[in-house]
Symmetry: C2
Subunit: 204 residues, 2 copies
DNA sequence: ACTATACGAGACACCGTGTCTCGTAAAGAT
DNA sequence: ATCTTTACGAGACACGGTGTCTCGTATAGT
């Protein structure tokens, strides 16, 4: 687990920390404030200075925890989306529908507001880009990769498969529509994408 | 054709304009400067103030032409990419390969640098979003839509087809990879995407 | 006590934004 | 030739965010 924060997590301190302990309340209220501003006024309205004002804390306390706004936002998103369930429904169609359903629901939340701005920041900061890929993309991709593996073992999917490409075919339309706004990201999309991709994946 | 500029184009003035004419040279040098900065230092380094400095013009002359940086950049991109050829190669595979090839080549140019930032700006400015969709996305989509129509008439593609979804399946992986950087955008991707999508589109 | 860290307050320099005013230049209209 | 209209360059302006720093104070372990 890569850290997005400035200091290593204290989740399991090898030795009790030295000085005055962090006020965990600040973390919580800041994250909540960010998610609210994200939802109500968009990515651009999220500001290190503005959030500090909103929660009535010193800006220094923000920079003590996060190196900058993009890291803060990424951290909030990871927090908000929680761990990814990798359901094993028994059928490939079921697994894909479940996986793709989480996309579609995620895009109904703060992710939709944050993603465009975050993508822009990723383009200037390789470290941020890697962190976002690792913490947000990778778990979902792995979940689908596992589902494809199970399907192959069951003989439901062809043995030779460009798995990475299949992942991009599944997710691409969601991100594409979410970022450009030329089409809806709704349950209908989930349905269609899965149906169509199954034609590719199905053996013969 | 929606205008990205502040004033209506003078391409075909109904009546000769009134006052001192615009210096078209400024437009040209600004566009060139933007494309260069885009290429060498990325979207963030493109700045109304900075470009004005670079080309030694007044900032007011910039704002006279474009309402702001995102419109300027979008204008430059449209300029740089030029009109889209919609080749009719005779086969669906050929048409798709041609169309998708232009994606891949576009992402090797300034588009790659500009897109993430532009997407972020689109998220706060519906007018910009619409202009970008109309001028950059729509022509390419139409070109592919036409190819699919031809294929259907030739019996090469199934008659009932969710065309919009097919377009997103074709383009999604390119934008997805370009924006998140988790995979290459190269000729191999073009090949694979077309091959896989043909399995969806092909009649039965 | 001593040390280490956190917190709040405030200051700092920096840069980009978008608007405005001024004096001057270049075109058509009368 | 003058008038009107628009463009241009220069410069100023207020605004807001960034990231860093210093200070005095608070709270923990040693």
């Amino acid at each position: 687990m890569k850290r997005l924060k400035s200091r290593p997590s204290r989740a399991r301190p090898s030795r009790p920390p030295r000085g005055r302990p962090r006020n965990e309340n600040i973390d919580r209220t800041v994250v909540a404030a960010v998610l609210e501003v994200l939802r109500t006024r968009g990515y651009r309205a999220v500001t290190m200075a503005g959030i500090a004002r909103k929660v009535k804390r010193a800006r220094a306390s923000m920079y003590r925890r996060w190196p900058g706004k993009p890291y803060l936002v990424a951290d909030c998103l990871v927090n908000a989306m929680g761990p990814r369930p990798a359901p094993d429904t028994g059928s490939l169609r079921g697994d894909l529908r479940a996986a793709v359903g989480t996309f579609q629901r995620a895009f109904a939340g703060p992710l939709k507001e944050a993603l465009p701005g975050l993508v822009a920041d990723m383009a200037h900061d390789p470290r941020l880009a890697q962190a976002v890929r690792r913490q947000m993309l990778a778990p979902r991709r792995k979940s689908i990769r596992d589902a494809l593996d199970r399907a192959r073992r069951r003989g439901e999917a062809r043995r030779t498969l460009d798995v990475e490409l299949v992942l991009d075919l599944l997710a691409g339309p969601f991100y594409f529509r979410a970022l450009f706004g030329h089409g809806p990201v709704d349950p209908r999309l989930s349905r269609s994408v899965v149906d169509h991709v199954l034609k590719i994946v199905g053996r013969k």
